[in-house]
């Protein structure tokens, strides 16, 4: 198991290198002079030159990249174009909101999607299955920010059961934290649960057709044992893979849903940075976002190894 984890992490190195090159390259793809954006139009040529030196723009690309990478490895992803704010600090400061939504949404998705999928899979072709799959198909077509809007109006505005805006850190108050992210998590989780339900159902149906289920039945095992012991653990294999994708999708969804609830997370940060073309910020978000996704994938791989002994061994 340890070997699996180590090998997965080592395998990430080239991937992260490519991402870092792509990300760093962004800076050089931006049309126009970066300095103009920072200094405005009234700056003198001397100011331009000084800033160019400060940003290292006078160095060759690889040198610039090397320096940037060196600093990035020490956790320094540079500084905002417009003030001395550290990109790492800004992104890490925004991450709790976004991660709360992402993983909260995932929990909601799991809570709805997996039981619905298992249930539908067990009742393949039945009414329950058709209803569940219809809902899942519709759910997959729903933009999660629209669900968020529709939830916000009654729950937060009419009845004021939850605050319409604002994020409370779980360190301050767990209850307030839950309330501050609840609607967003439900909005995110609903669409993710649709995909999850479909996957789970498919996996369940697939597993139920496998020979070992026939064996289990021929052994006279109870349905409960067959469903929960023999089928579910095997069905979990493809579902866990989906969870990896879903976390990615949820993170993206969270960037938008944040806006509906006025939560200042990575979404607000990156949107603002895109509008002002604050490239270091965007780079930071991309790099740290990738790290999050990649870490989740390592966790998924570990979980995968847990349910699938074949992976664990190799």
């Amino acid at each position: 198991m340890l070997r699996l984890i180590v090998s997965r992490i080592v395998g990430l190195v080239p991937l992260l290198l490519i991402v870092s090159i792509l990300t760093f390259g962004m800076l050089h793809l931006v049309p126009g002079d970066v300095r103009e954006r920072i200094l405005g139009f009234e700056a003198t040529p001397e100011q331009y030159e000084a800033l160019g030196r400060q940003l290292g723009l006078d160095q060759p690309f690889l040198v610039q990249y090397g320096r940037w990478l060196g600093r990035a490895l020490q956790g320094d992803l540079g500084t905002s174009y417009f003030n001395s704010q550290k990109v790492t600090d800004a992104v890490l400061g925004a991450l709790p909101v976004t991660l709360s939504l992402t993983f909260g949404g995932m929990l909601v998705a799991l809570a709805i999607g997996v039981p619905a999928g298992v249930w539908a899979g067990l009742n393949r072709g039945g009414r329950v299955d058709r209803i569940a799959m219809f809902m899942a198909t519709v759910g997959q077509a729903l933009p999660n920010f629209w669900i968020a809007m529709l939830l916000l109006i009654p729950f937060a505005i009419w009845w004021q059961l939850v605050p319409a805006t604002g994020f409370t850190s779980p360190a301050e108050s767990i209850g307030d934290w839950l309330r501050s992210i609840l609607l967003a998590c439900i909005a995110l989780g609903t669409s993710a649960s649709a995909a999850l339900a479909r996957q789970t159902r498919g996996a369940m149906i697939d597993v139920l057709q496998r020979d070992f289920i026939r064996t289990a039945r021929a052994k006279g095992l109870s349905r409960t044992s067959i469903t929960y012991k023999h089928a579910l653990k095997n069905a979990a294999v493809p579902v866990i893979t989906t969870i990896g994708f879903q976390v990615n999708a949820l993170l993206s969804g969270a960037l938008i849903v944040e806006q509906v609830f006025g939560l200042r997370g990575v979404g607000s940060l990156v949107i603002e940075s895109v509008r002002t073309q604050n490239i270091p910020m965007v780079q930071g978000v991309v790099i740290l976002g990738t790290l999050v996704i990649v870490s989740v994938n390592v966790l998924v791989d570990i979980a995968y190894g847990w349910v699938n002994p074949r992976v664990r061994a190799s």
Partner: protein, 533 residues
């Protein structure tokens, strides 16, 4: 094969466990969580001594000498810094004493200040004439974005420990006012070389920025400065500035108690009014179009004054004020609000008269024309409405959406024949230099109007109020009749606030409220006199 049937049996076995549909499950989970959290309670307004202000704009920099002026400066710099003078809350042409207690003109090119004694910056450095001199010199040397407002300063000298003398190239009636804005604010000289001054202000203001408790871009916390030279009293609170990009979100933040006061837009104000929330409003800006291409290089039709007048006649200002601004704007035909540069006769000059507009176009021999107008990205229902009215008289106004950066840049280049920047409706000296002067940044076509330059130059180098009033009246009369800028509305800046908690809320000369004037309400201050609020 066997499996399918098994499935059916399976469902019977487990149906009990999953009797609820996924939908009901969600509901159950929700209600369980909600029950666990309890109802949303109003925070105890008395226990909470923090004024929480929700704004749309994050800090740009805490270094006043590199900061632009405007709302970000007044929101973030005014809590922590003082200038020699302070803006007058009601009169944009007047100032109040601040770090300078009094001043006098030695001659029309020399101004002497008597400085407040015993003031210390929050880092312990003393404030004195030397510190003030070094600040102004730093500001002039750094060449920040608003240095041009101080360009009349020739030399600054400390004539005593607490007397400061500023020598000018020209008489400057705006200097005292400009000294109260960002470039005139005083930073501890010991902090000049801090690389991180932009996020760690060191001033003398009534609040101290708490960097450790803040998250730049998200929220900023300010503690009360216990050593402030002008103790503000017990009902002065801590300050938290919360950044929320969306106006609706800011309104909700006040409704839900997350913030106590928020800058909002007209649709939110409309909603707030229906909810019975208290609003503060002040008409600070004009809304319209400044015709950049008055020689007709891009759009020949715009060279004809009759065409420009048609633009002014064609639009139903009242309808836009009512429908798009929900009443939080008033029809206007000239840039300046009553005061300096206001021309009462002009008010009747342009009324909504599409026939007149068509007639003017006919006279000018224009059979319909089109031009492009850059608008900001936030969505511009007002310009969409104007577009509609112009189309009625045969003018095709095309909206080109631009990012805020590009938008300002475009207004300074010969890309578009007009710009749609909403300038403040006061301070003609600054507006002239910014918009209509031959060398103005926002006059990219370098259109020269000898008479208005002459009038403005005479006025802005004169300390004689009557001459200034006379000149700017003529200036804006010309500007109005020649339509250098088409003005449609004067627009209210709006803030919604919790009047059970706050009092003394009024908007400043920029979009945001005058934070220093806000006081926490004590129980006895309840609007209805009861102790229950």
């Amino acid at each position: 094969m066997s499996v399918a049937r098994f499935g059916q049996c399976g469902s019977r076995a487990v149906a009990g466990a999953w009797h609820a549909s996924p939908c009901t499950l969600v509901m159950l989970v929700c209600s369980a969580l909600l029950a666990a959290c309890g109802p949303v309670v109003d925070r105890d307004a008395l226990a909470d001594r923090t004024i929480r202000f929700a704004t749309y704009q994050p800090l740009i920099t805490f270094d006043p000498h590199l900061s632009p002026t405007g709302p970000t400066a007044s929101t973030y710099l005014s809590p922590v810094y003082d200038g020699l003078t302070a803006p007058h809350p009601d009169n944009p042409y007047d100032v109040l004493p601040a770090l300078a207690t009094e001043w006098r003109w030695l001659d029309d090119r020399t101004l002497e200040f008597r400085l407040r004694e015993g003031v210390r910056f929050v880092d312990g450095e003393p404030f004195n004439a030397d510190a003030a001199k070094r600040n102004l010199e730093r500001m002039l040397a750094l060449n920040g974005p608003r240095r041009n407002t101080m360009r009349s300063i020739r030399e600054v000298s400390a004539t005593g420990p607490y007397t400061l003398r500023i020598a000018l190239y020209d008489p400057d009636p705006t200097l005292l006012r400009n000294l109260s804005t960002a470039p005139g604010l005083m930073v501890s000289p010991a902090a000049f070389d801090h690389a991180a001054l932009d996020l760690n202000p060191v001033g003398t203001g009534p609040w101290i920025y708490d960097a450790a408790a803040s998250a730049p871009g998200d929220y900023y916390r300010f503690r009360v400065n216990p050593d402030y030279f002008d103790p503000p009293g017990e009902d002065f609170g801590e300050l938290e500035v919360i950044v929320l990009a969306d106006g609706r979100t800011r309104l909700f933040s006040v409704i839900s108690g997350q913030a106590d006061i928020a800058i909002i837009g007209p649709p939110e104000a409309d909603h707030a009014k229906r909810l019975g929330l208290e609003l503060a409003r002040r008409a600070n800006r004009w809304m319209g179009m400044t015709i950049l291409d008055r020689r007709g290089e891009l759009v020949p039709e715009l060279a004809d004054v009759r065409v420009r007048q048609a633009l002014a006649f064609a639009v139903d200002r009242q309808a836009i004020a009512d429908a798009v601004y929900f009443g939080y704007a008033s029809p206007a035909v000239q840039p300046m609000a009553p005061g300096l540069g206001y021309v009462p006769e002009l008010d009747d000059y342009y009324r909504y008269d599409p026939e007149r507009a068509r007639a003017l176009l006919r006279e000018a021999g224009v059979e319909g024309f089109s031009f492009e107008v850059p608008v900001g990205s936030a969505g511009s229902p007002d310009y969409e409405a104007i577009q509609h009215y112009l189309r009625q008289v045969g003018i095709d106004m095309r909206l080109v959406v631009m990012e805020s950066g590009a938008y300002t840049a475009a207004a300074m280049a010969r890309t578009f024949p007009v710009n749609t920047i909403g300038y403040p409706n006061y301070d003609p000296d600054s507006r002239h230099l910014a918009i209509w002067h031959t060398q103005s940044a926002f006059n990219p076509f370098r259109i020269e109007s000898a008479r208005i330059n002459e009038l403005a130059d005479e006025a802005r180098f004169s300390l004689d109020p009557e001459l200034r009033a006379r000149n700017y009246r003529e200036y804006f009369d010309i500007l109005g009749r020649e339509v250098y800028s088409v003005v449609y509305l004067h627009v209210d800046d709006l803030a919604v606030y919790d009047d059970r908690k706050l009092q003394g809320v009024r908007l400043g000369a920029y979009i945001d409220p005058a934070l220093r004037d806000i006081r926490l309400r004590r129980t006895t201050d309840c609007p209805d006199g009861s102790a229950a609020c």
